[in-house]
Structures are given as structure tokens and as C-alpha cells.
């Protein structure tokens, strides 16, 4: 699975991940408080410039945000039907600016940097005993390891259907997929414990 990170050395790449995440949060709050149209337009333009500055090709940068642009346009059109045009335009600008900056943050921060931030965020929660920060990394690794396996299993079950002349139906395909996948849990857990990966669980 390909991460959305883009190799580069723009100003945004060099900024610390924490500063980027905090700015995104701040931008979100400010955008929803302000409703001055010219100001919103300027901010949207600025975020578009930032998104263009991170070194993605024009096609790739458009492909990435296309599904969300589509939702934003539909929502803005819906707003236009039920509210005056100024409100619809403000909504369109707000959501677009936020989406562009969020996409820029994601494209300029590596998975490792994000994982470090998540671990820092989880530290205070560790004291409550609810989560162990190291477990988050372990879980993420497990998912990445098993997604290809689950997809291969899905195709094997589809072929088994075809070989018996059965139609592929959700229930007959999902049930064996879930049982076969979760049945591995005992072995995987034993392997993890045997290697002492979760040292905090004695």
C-alpha cells in the first residue's frame, strides 16, 4: 500500500509535524468562525498555493482531492438551494481551504513522523491503563501485513464459488472470509508473545 507522502524539500516538508497538525487544527477553527467572503477567498487561494508548492504534479494533486471535492460541491449546491448564495459560497471556500491544507499536511509528513506524534499523544492515556502507546504501532504493522493476505483469501473464496457454480453473494463470501481470518488470531498472538514484543504484558 502506497502512502500519500511525497518526497520533497518544500517549506512545509521542513516544518515540524506537530506545528503542521496544530496549524491545521487552528485553520479549521478560524475558518468556521470567520464569515468574511473576501478574506475566505484569500485564505482559500493561499492554501491552494501551499498545496501547489509541495511538488506534486498537477494531475496527481487533482486526483488525490477529487472524491472530496465532489462531496464539497454537492454539499455547496445543496446549501445554495436552502440558503442565500453568500452562505453557500462561504461553505464552499471554507471546506475547500481546509481540504487543501489537510492534503498538503498529509503529503509532506512521513508515516514515521505521524506515528511519533500519535505515540506522544497516547502517552498521557497510558497512565489510565487504556492503551499502551507501543501497541498502536504493533496494530498498524499487523494491518499492513494482513491486508494483502485477506484480499488473496477473498479471491480464493470467489474461485471456490465459481468452481461449484455458485453465485458470489455477500453472506456466503464474508462469513468464510471472517472466520478464516480471525482463526489465525491465536497463532499470531502466540507468535507475538513468544518473541516478547509486548514487554509490558508479562
Amino acid at each position: 500500500m502506497q502512502s500519500l507522502y511525497v518526497e520533497g524539500n518544500s517549506a512545509l516538508h521542513r516544518l515540524s509535524p506537530r506545528a503542521k497538525i496544530f496549524s491545521l487544527f487552528l485553520l479549521g477553527v478560524m475558518l468556521f468562525i470567520g464569515d468574511n467572503l473576501p478574506l475566505l477567498a484569500i485564505v482559500t487561494l493561499l492554501t491552494a498555493l501551499i498545496y501547489r508548492s509541495i511538488g506534486l504534479s498537477l494531475t496527481e494533486s487533482a486526483v488525490r482531492v477529487r472524491p472530496i471535492v465532489l462531496t464539497i460541491v454537492i454539499v455547496a449546491l445543496f446549501t445554495l438551494v436552502v440558503s442565500p448564495w453568500q452562505v453557500a459560497l462561504a461553505t464552499l471556500l471554507r471546506l475547500t481551504a481546509l481540504m487543501l491544507f489537510a492534503a498538503a499536511v498529509t503529503a509532506t509528513t512521513t508515516i514515521t513522523q505521524f506515528m511519533d506524534e500519535i505515540t506522544v499523544l497516547a502517552r498521557p492515556l497510558e497512565r489510565t491503563g487504556w492503551v499502551k502507546a507501543d501497541d498502536i504501532g504493533l496494530a498498524v504493522g499487523l494491518v499492513l501485513r494482513f491486508v494483502p493476505e485477506i484480499i488473496a483469501r477473498y479471491h480464493a473464496i470467489s474461485e471456490a464459488h465459481a468452481a461449484r457454480g455458485l453465485k458470489v453473494r455477500p453472506v456466503t463470501i464474508l462469513t468464510p472470509l471472517i472466520i478464516l481470518t480471525l482463526r489465525d488470531a491465536d497463532n499470531i498472538a502466540a507468535a507475538i508473545d513468544a518473541r516478547g514484543i509486548r514487554r509490558h504484558v508479562s
Binding site: L142, I151, I178, T181
Partner: protein, 187 residues
């Protein structure tokens, strides 16, 4: 949390991610493709119970946050969290919890298969539709600056598809319970 529970949650997170990558499944005579990962969220609740299902969904959200395109249609990254429909994404956590919580309370081993299936269906409907839409609609109204009523009307179009998904989740939940029961946490 035992290592086994953590692994079960991670494996189910992987199933939810895989559901977004697989080709859509068509339901017999109804021309509605079953693509959405919300089916995976409902199934997590009915198969794993509240605690592990919530963790499975949280793992998926961590994967989104760290910039992996794990949502259907190759969406991912922070942009997925700030879209007008992101309430439906955050709502997954509560949908999985409520579906799992109700499944644990309503379904018992000594019930007949029909009662179990109907109970799972109720759990998936309340968790995966009522709770999920409450979050999704509230966020949509806020983000798009429209009234709650308009946001409600705009979201209604997706309810029939989700009712079918709740039905599929109930059948799968009952079948998995018969084949490989996991709902009760093993001591």
C-alpha cells in the same frame, strides 16, 4: 488487553480496509453494490463485541490519519477528516461500540438462530444507522452551515442501502457465531 484481543481487533481492521479495496458485491436481484466499509464496521460490532470492535475502528482511523489511502475510493490522510461527510467517519467509532454493546446484551448462545439473527439486525440498525447518522448529520449541518432538518433530508437517500447492510451484517454475525464464536471475551 490480551495479545489475542489486540490481534483480533487488528485483523478486523485489516478486513475493513480490504473491503474498501475489493470489487463491489452485488446482492442478487437488487442492483445495489455492497462496497461501503460501513458494512465492515457493523460486522466488527456483531462479531467482536463492543470493546474489540471499537479498537478495530480506531486502528482504521489511525491508518487514515498517518496518510494511508485505506478508505474506499483510495481516500485517506487528514483531508478525509475535514470533508463535510467526515461525521460519518468519526461516527464509526460509536457505531461499532453501540452495535457491539447491544449484540453482547441481546444475543445469547441458548437462543434459536432466528432470534439471534433478529437481535443482531436490531443491534446493527441502532448502532450502524441511528447512532452513525446522528453523528454524520450533526457534523454535516455544522460543516455545511445548513439546518439539521436539511442535513437529515439530504442523508435519507443512503438509508435503504444501509438497512440492507445491517441485514447482511446480521446474517454474517449469526453465521460466524455458529462457526467460530468470538462475541464473549474468553477468560
Amino acid at each position: 488487553m490480551s495479545t489475542r484481543d489486540l490481534v483480533l481487533a487488528a485483523l478486523f481492521a485489516a478486513i475493513i480496509v480490504a473491503l474498501g479495496l475489493l470489487p463491489p458485491i452485488y446482492l442478487g436481484f437488487i442492483p445495489v453494490p455492497i462496497t461501503a466499509q460501513s458494512l465492515g464496521v457493523m460486522m466488527a460490532g456483531v462479531v467482536l463485541g463492543a470493546r474489540r470492535a471499537t479498537i478495530a475502528v480506531l486502528i482504521v482511523l489511525v491508518l487514515v490519519a498517518i496518510g494511508l489511502p485505506v478508505l474506499s475510493g483510495g481516500r485517506g490522510g487528514f483531508a478525509a477528516f475535514v470533508a463535510p461527510t467526515s461525521g460519518f467517519l468519526f461516527g464509526w467509532v460509536f457505531a461499532a461500540f453501540v452495535t457491539g454493546f447491544l449484540s453482547e446484551r441481546l444475543v445469547h448462545d441458548n437462543q434459536s438462530g432466528l432470534v439471534q439473527t433478529v437481535s443482531f439486525f436490531l443491534a446493527a440498525m441502532i448502532g450502524g444507522i441511528v447512532v452513525l447518522y446522528a453523528f454524520g448529520i450533526a457534523y454535516l449541518a455544522l460543516a455545511a452551515n445548513i439546518g439539521l432538518k436539511q442535513a437529515f433530508v439530504g442523508s435519507m437517500a443512503f438509508i435503504p442501502g444501509d438497512v440492507i447492510k445491517a441485514f447482511v451484517a446480521a446474517l454474517v454475525g449469526r453465521a460466524v457465531m455458529a462457526g467460530y464464536p468470538l462475541l464473549r471475551i474468553r477468560a
